[in-house]
Structures are given as C-alpha cells and as structure tokens.
Amino acid sequence: MSEDSQILFGLYVPPHPQPLLSPDANAGYANLRAAFETCRKRIEASDADLIIVYSTTWPSVVGHQIQALKESIWTHVDDDFHYLGSMPYNFQIDSDFSHEYCSAAEKRGLHARTVEYEGFPIDTGSVVALSLLNPDNRIPACIVSSNMYANRSETIVLGKAANDALVTQGKKAVVVVVSSLSNRMFTEHIDPSEDRIHSSKDNEWNEKILEFFADGRLEDLSQLSREIHGQIRVQKVVAYKPAWWLAASMGQHNNYEGEVLAYEALHGSGGAVIQLTPSSGSFGDKEFDEDDVEYYQGDRNVLNKGSH
C-alpha cells in the first residue's frame, strides 16, 4: 500500500463545454456552473498546492501522457460544439510535479511520458474543468491522459502513482476526474431548453451511482466500473475508468464524505459535479471481487500457453 493520501478532496465533473460557454441556455447548465463555482471556492479555501486532472476526453495511445508545459496557452474549439464559441486558455502547469508523476508511473511498470509542446491540444474536458475551477491560475495544475487501451490494472496503478508523486514532493492536491456519468448524447441538435437525460435507464443508473457517491462509497463504485461501462457507457473505449483512477489515487476505501452538488443533462448525457472528502466513518464492510494491483506487469499473453 502507498503511504497516506496527500489528496485533500476529489471532484468528479462533466467534460461538456455548456457550463463554460452557454450556462444560461438552460437552468441545468446554470446549476452545473454554480456547482463548479462552489468547488472553485472550496479549492481556494483549501491548502492544496496543485490540481491534478484525469481527463476521459484526452485519449492516449503511447502509454500515459502527462502535460508538463509550464505555460499552456491556446484557444480551443470543441469538435461538436464549435458553434457555442471558442475557449481561450492559459494554464500554469506544475512541470516539476508532472515529471515526478511520470517517473512514479514508470516505477510502477507503466509506459508514461510528459508532453511539453507549444500548441498541444488540451482537450475540452480539461479546458472546461480548469477554466471554471482555477480561472486565475491561483495554483498550478497537472493533466493526465486516459490511455484508450488501458484497462483496470493500468488505471489503478496510474492512480496510485499520482499519490506517490505527491508524497515524494510533499505536496497536497485536489484531484479532478473529468467524465460524464451516462455518456450517450442526442445524435441531433436540440433546443437546449429541452435537454434531458437520453433515456430513463441512463437516468436510473446515474441516480444509483450518485447514491453511492453521496454515501462516499468510492471503492464500491470502483468495483462496479465494469458493470457501469456495460450499462450506460457508449463503447468508445475498453472500460469506464474514472472511478478506478479516482479511488486508486485517493486510497481505495469507502471513507468519504460525499456531496452531489449538481446533476443535470448535457445534450442527453449525465453531467454531475461531485465532491468526495476523506473522512473517518466507513460505509459498510465489504469484500471485493476485483484484485488490488501495485505494479503493472503488462498484458498476460495467453495465446502461446496451453497443452501443445
């Protein structure tokens, strides 16, 4: 097990640009925006040294990429929602931490690298989150990608490596996972005032997940990730990974104060702003099916094994 978590609290926020670009188009978007604002103030009131963002809208292929350019400046435009406007950004990155995170990931067997290039396209989810949670660069940030082929063990190890790096540098952080709950959007353009969750099934699952979050049952959600992926995630990637990364970085237990600040539809998908703060009381006493993993050994090659 890693040492105690250096993470003051965790946030789960949606990647869609509406709360940033068109908060007044719908009462729900405004509600999400207000929840982002509340979280911004809580980060300001904390003694966090940095914000670490794990974004599901930054896919990587070659291992795990970690943004390390000290001043990341560009104007981002979303592939689908370009008509809502541009998103100019200027993010201060804790480059030292990013390099430490990269080497912590490598020590745990992962292939990882930092990216430090002017004009690197920071993804919509990270731009929305950092623009709303840390608009004045009061503290620096670090952003980590979500490898499109990575499954549970890699993601768990990647989460643990984030905490390793915090321990090494003696820093405290707020971690932010950028992800929808159900992620099926409407496939046509809609009047924002008529936005709603795509289906009642998606809504029911979202509500159930939010109950778990509200009870602080993060490790339970981590254990349920494969089921969540099958039920309410469009199969763009191999797995629903945010709860794995969040739970692994924050300590793999159910001892959190959970608060759902907002839950609204974003073009049909489920967008929630949730805060999890480590606490003392645990919810229940569970046994878990999914194994824990400290070090990534690579994919198991089963093709050349057997009774030949």
Partner: protein, 301 residues
C-alpha cells in the same frame, strides 16, 4: 455548366509518422526518415494527381469526431498549428489551407436533404485535424488546391458497424449528387489505416525501422484479404465484409470513410491501383486509388 464528377478516389492513411519522416518545413519535429514503402507510394500517387485536372479535394477524416451529425469545414481559410495529441513528439505542423466553401455548403445542403443531421463549422479558431493535414500534405505537398473536410460521425460507437455503413452510404451518395450539381471535378480522399491496433510503447527513436512490424499476424491476413479485394475490383464484397473486418481488426474503417467514398463513386467494380502497404506503430496502412478513367487507370503494384 457540365456535370461535376469524381475524378479519383484515394485511400490515404494518415499516420503522422509519414509527415515526420519527410521533414517538410511546416513540421517542427526532425527525423532520420522511416516508413519509405508508404512514403514512396504516396510520392507516386502525388505524381499521378499532378497529371489530373481537378478543382478540389474532399476528405473524410476519423480525427474530427462528431457525435451530433456530420460536419463540414465552412470558412475559406484556416491557418494554425496542428499538434497531434497522440504523437506530439512527431507532428507539430504549421498549416495554411484553403477551403472550397461553396462545395462544402452544397454537400451540406444535399446531405441535409437526404435526412442526415449536418452542421457547417464556421468557428475561425477551429483547428483542422491532423488526419486531414497528413493525408493532404502527402497527396498534394504544394497545397495548391482547396479542400473540404467532412467529419466522421461515430455511428459505430453509438449504434453498430452496420448502422455506420448505412449512414456512410447515404452521405456518400448525397455528396456525389452535390458534386454533380456543382460542375466541379473532385478528388475524394478517405483518410485512414486498415487494421488499427497500435503498440502502446514507442521506440526511443520512433523511426527505428528495426522495431516496426504489424501488431499481429491476424491483422496482416485480414489486411491482405481486403487489399486483394481492392485489387480485384470487389468493392461490393468489401462493403459486405466491412462489419466483420472492422470488428476483427479494430480497423480505422470504423469511422466510415471507405464506405462513404465507395458509395459516392457508385461502388466501383474495377481494380484499385495499389501504391503500398506497411505497418506504422503496429497498424496496417495501404495507399490505394480508384481511377474511374479507363485510359489512365494502371497496374501500379
């Protein structure tokens, strides 16, 4: 005005490695070469393009992914730097390109008439995707023709490969009608790899060709099967086999580009010209073109 036509359809894979390996002045990264089989094939196809009279390139790209309909680039010029989010070490390309907005609008209207959800992209800050830039750079390094980029609506993710095929066919046919009405001569480009499983680690020197090979033999056998069908003019059969091929090899055909292009070209039953096949970080890449003109069509490889 005479009827517009598609004068060539190109399968043009877009690993940024190929631009990186060329060291054009637009790209900031520097390489010692690599992937010559594909680059030389591209050079030959680019020479053929120079002999063809055409007005615009229309390109369908997997790297402008849209979930709400099909989008078209809708401003006359885009100038910026494209940094590949996956291989930023290889591709940081300063582009300055022109768009045939009239043709884009025409395709947009015809597509909407066919019942497909569409949108024009008119945000001047929008960055053109690296798939478009890589394929267009390699086919036409002088960038002396306007382009239209069509986004890939991800029906495979949202529904199934079968739905993707139906939508891509309808889109291709609508684009064809718009091209005919426009009176223009157009080159279509379907920008993608074939089999598409990547290695998740990279050699210290990415162009170290001693490290390059297909991800596994199954991918290779499937790719050869498909290329054989290209060669034999069996594009109807390729369309039929596409759901299984895409699933088995997690092919980049999942975005719909090849089906779109084949539908627009009336599903050719003549042989494709093959310009090369090579793996890039484990993926299978074939350069091919379909030339409707029997006088200029040739056996290349």
């Amino acid at each position: 005005m005479s009827k517009g036509e598609i004068v060539l359809g190109c399968l043009a894979p877009h690993p940024p490695h190929l631009v990186y390996a060329e060291n054009p002045p637009q790209n900031e990264a520097f390489s010692e070469g690599g992937w010559e089989t594909l680059r030389w094939g591209y050079a030959k196809l680019a020479r053929k393009l120079k002999t063809i009279d055409y007005d615009a390139i229309v390109i369908f790209t997997p790297h402008w992914q849209t979930y709400i309909g099909t989008h078209f680039l809708g401003l006359p010029e885009f100038k910026s730097k494209s940094v590949d989010p996956v291989f930023p070490n290889l591709f940081r390309y300063n582009y300055d390109l022109k768009v045939d907005v009239e043709l884009a609008e025409a395709m947009h209207e015809e597509t909407a008439k066919a019942g497909i959800i569409t949108k024009m992209m008119k945000n001047p800050d929008f960055r053109v995707d690296y798939g478009t830039i890589t394929s267009c750079h390699l086919l036409n390094p002088s960038w002396d023709k306007p382009i239209v980029t069509i986004s890939s609506n991800r029906n495979s993710h949202y529904y199934s490969n079968e739905v993707m095929i139906e939508q891509a066919k309808a889109l291709g046919e609508a684009c064809m009608r718009a091209i005919e009405k426009s009176g223009k001569k157009v080159v279509l480009v379907s920008s993608h790899s074939l089999s598409h499983r990547h290695f998740v680690t990279e050699a210290p020197l990415p162009e170290d060709m001693s490290r390059e090979h297909i991800y596994n033999h199954s991918q290779y056998v499937w790719d050869m099967k498909i290329i054989d069908m290209f060669r034999n003019g069996q594009m109807k059969e390729v369309v039929d086999i596409m759901p299984e091929y895409t699933e088995q090899t997690i092919a980049e055909t999942e975005a719909g580009g090849l089906i779109w292009m084949m539908a627009a070209m009336g599903v050719p039953s003549y042989p494709a010209e093959i310009y090369g096949y090579q793996s890039v970080i484990g993926t299978g890449n074939c350069i091919a073109c379909w030339d409707p003109n029997t006088e200029t069509r040739e056996l290349v490889l």
